[in-house]
Amino acid sequence: MLRKLMTGCAAFILITAAGVASAEEMVLNVYNWSDYIAEDTIADFEERTGIKVNYDVFDSNEVLEAKLLAGNSGYDVVVPAASFLERQIMAGGFARLDRSRLGNWGNLDATILERVAAHDPGNEHAVPYMWGTTGFGYNVGKVEAIMSDAPTGSWRMLFDPDVVAELADCGVTLLDAPTEVFANLMGYLGRDPNSESPEDVELFEEHLSKIRPHIRYFHSSQNINDLANGEICVAMGWSGDMLIARDRAVEAGQGVEIAYTIPEEGAVIWFDNLAIPSDAPHPENAHLFLDYMMEAEVAAAISNYVFYANANGASLPYVDDEVKSDPSIYPSDAVKENLFADLADSPAFTRLLTRAWTRVKTGQ
Amino acid sequence: MSPPRTAPAGDLPGNEPRCGHYVRIEGVTKTFGDVTAVDDVSLGIHRGEIFCLLGSSGCGKTTLLRILAGFETATGGRVLIDGDDMTGIPPYERPVNIMFQSYALFPHMTVEKNVAFGLRQDRIAARETSRRVRDMLGLVRLGPLARRRPHQLSGGQRQRVALARALVKQPKLLLLDEPLAALDRKLREEMQFELITIQKEVGVTFVVVTHDQEEAMTLSDRIGVMDAGKIVQTGTPSAIYESPGTRFVAGFVGSVNLFEGRVVAQDAGHLIIECEGAGCPLYSDRGVRAAHGDRVWVAVRPEKLQISRDAPSREYNRIESMITEVAYRGNLTMYRLRAASGAELRVSRPNLARANADRQDMGERVYVSWHPSSSVVLTS
């Protein structure tokens, strides 16, 4: 373990050194999710502004958070999910945006801004980037074969012990993300998805332990390939991932058909946001970049490439019909009504939930 | 389990072996690929003797020893020990023990445990084991060091542990591979006599492999000289030294002056040899099995030559030469000389008196001569 901590320290020192060396020149350090931008987005920005972009990617909110909380990350623009953003704002991790430098702010979708404001009051720190839902993907053919009357539009596929038991042999998986599983299960049980009451944690644990024997694994990225290969049948997952699984299944040509459901009981809606760390070495360049990313055509190009809905209302005319008309990406307003945010939790509740989650997973 | 072993100690040397030889090596051959290491060797070794296999490195002596120990399987022939055919019997079941050149002491065991190791393998009772170990350590004078580890011992002490370890099992045959090679000169001389004393005390038959002729001379009852996989001569040390059978043996055991020539006349027990290198006829009374006209070599040991300023009275065995080198060695002085024919001669003379005023010096012209009984005539 110590070895890992030490590597972390070394990496940290290197990044810090890089940050100091490049003080306020034509440089911008961006830290984004992997595969989360169009091919020419960065090149176009560099060409237009002459700013050299150091583009770096991560694949977990937790890793990003750890770097931000350690301080001196050296990054100018990072892309946290809203619930993480919320907590990091409280910890003083992000700079206030200077709206006067963000001429394209008006392009943003007002309803999304309103929802993100639940995490970032007054939208003072973050520009909503992309958004999606946490539902489930499933293998259409196999589920049909095992259970012809499977409730494929409902959370019962994952949360009804009888249904899960029937599908278990085929492979049912959950995300290893306790807060999102908790919010979705609370929604399914008709309770407050953002409840912090210990009773609800007990209820959560009790209910999950009923389906636990039928869950193959808890993992947040393995489900993509396993769904596409037919290794598993039902997987709770993020909309974008499940759509990637759908595409991979088609590419593989093994006859596997994957569908993504935003369950009728409602589901977690999440937002990824562009934000500037409070100790960013190049805040001016960062503002330039944010404004560029808010351009309608730039945002549309990214959505067309990554198959995620963006938060840019003005970009819709430029978004491909194939993307725009896919209800898995751009759900109908009626479905949107049912979506709920997963707000940041207090440390005490987080510990309670993590402990319950460990108990559920390990039986310890 | 090993077969029960007889304890030869005590019942020697009065008892004569069953059928002449206690250890019989019959036509043993060993080839590695197309190299013949041991070539059709037949040998008999008496019970209770120290027999030395003497030869230069690569002559096959160590391979022969390993065949006796059972580490190598002979390609042909067989070995009998006390009448039992050893063919196919693995080393751990042979009544044979070996003392390795490197001693091969177990570094993780104390002296005591090293010596007891063989007895434990035979499941000998603990009390009996400790008694025998104690006795054996007493014999090799290592009693006080019983609890030391090998790396805490000197070279000589290690050697004695190795000997004790091999002897404690009372083997019918003890093999010693260059037993003294790892010791310095002074210790080596001491140990040579100690080895003999111990051997006489326990009465075990020893086969010693060595490349050191001096060691072989000192230790052995008999010596077998090996060359290129073959035994070229077997005999007591004095027989090997005084009556070598071939030029090889003569040259290998001690140094020798050789004169090549042709038999020109013979009488009862004597030969007259015409020899260009000597510049005079040579007269010899040994190694007489040669016919008129045969090509032969006359061999004379350096210490058997005389040096004189005046010409000796006899007309044969007299070579006029010049001293080219004088080396004082304390107990004796070595001379190198060149004969008129160009032949090189080596002479050694004992320094009988402390100061010899009449010593011959470099560049002096002298006569080298010897008695007919001092030389050997060799045909090969």
């Binding site: 373990m1 890793v63 460990t358 390990t362 | 035979d122 580890r149 091999a166």
Partner: protein
């Protein structure tokens, strides 16, 4: 003289820089209190307004580890998994190391190369490869199904079995190399001496080779056991959700709970649980080597 001092100083400097300094940092965090800030823990030392120095250190986080059985269960489970993996590495690695040590020098170079060869590929990639091998429609199951030995695929992924396979596979070279280094130095004539003294080959192995290779066994076992206890990647990728290991608990504390102080306390406790077996082993080894 100065060079000598310098040469002695190098390992100490190394230890100070890469072990003691990080350890002090981690210990400092472990003694502090978690809070929502950057960094996410309260400072240990604080200058009061009147210039006085206030120290706020507490063993609260270590006591917390004792309160919840999760932690010691995770430690025990990690130690168990590491111990079993080490045993399997030893059982598999010893014959391999022995074989290599006994082979001809030419073959030896090739065989050692083969042992080291996997290191040329990324560790992560090799673990991923095992997912492909062990999964339900992977080659093992497909072959067994085709032969007709089984009717249903055997679930190997997400089981403890897969974790053992992964750890043993990944750490086997760390067992083989020190064992080989030791075995190759054992004088072959010692075995001949044992045979000559009446020892059958198996007994010779047990009484001579095995004790003499003990330092290699200890070194190899430590090299496998220590990283295996803290292993995170292999159980995360190959193991099931019920594989509770200290690496996972640490991850949860650090990333999920964002409780750096408790995470640091877990790390320090793990360090001490490792120091004990190391000291015991070293003592054993010193005895074995002899004074």
């Amino acid at each position: 003289m100065r060079w000598r001092t310098f040469a002695i100083a190098v390992p100490y400097l190394w230890l100070l820089l890469f072990f003691l300094a990080p350890f002090a940092i981690v210990l400092k965090i472990a003694l502090s209190e978690a809070m929502l800030a950057r960094p996410p823990y309260a400072p240990l030392f604080e200058w009061g307004p009147d210039g006085s120095l206030a120290v706020r250190a507490s063993l609260q986080n270590f006591l917390f580890l004792l309160r919840d059985d999760l932690y010691w269960k995770a430690y025990l489970n990690s130690a168990r998994i590491a111990l079993i993996s080490t045993a399997f590495c030893l059982i598999l690695g010893y014959p391999v190391a022995y074989g290599i040590a006994r082979s001809s020098p030419t073959a030896r170079t090739v065989l050692l190369m083969l042992v080291i060869l996997p290191f040329w590929t990324s560790f992560l990639l090799r673990v991923y490869a095992w997912i492909g091998i062990l999964k339900n429609n992977g080659p093992i199951n497909n072959m067994l199904l085709a032969i007709g030995i089984i009717d249903e695929p055997i679930t190997m992924m997400q089981t403890d079995f897969a974790v053992y396979v992964g750890i043993v596979y990944a750490y086997l070279p760390f067992m083989i190399l020190p064992l080989f280094a030791r075995l190759v130095r054992i004088d072959h004539t010692l075995l001949e001496a044992a045979a000559d003294l009446g020892c059958r080959p198996l007994r010779a192995f047990l009484t001579v080779t095995l004790p003499l290779s003990l330092p290699g066994i200890v070194a190899g076992s430590l090299l496998v056991f220590i990283p295996a206890v803290g292993e995170f990647v292999i159980p995360a990728l190959l193991g099931g959700p019920d594989t509770l290991m200290i690496g996972r608990v640490l991850w949860d504390e650090f990333f999920a709970n964002r409780d750096w102080p408790v995470a640091s306390a877990v790390a320090i406790a793990a360090l001490f649980l490792l120091v004990i077996p190391i000291t015991v082993f070293q003592r054993l080894r010193a005895d074995q080597e002899g004074a």
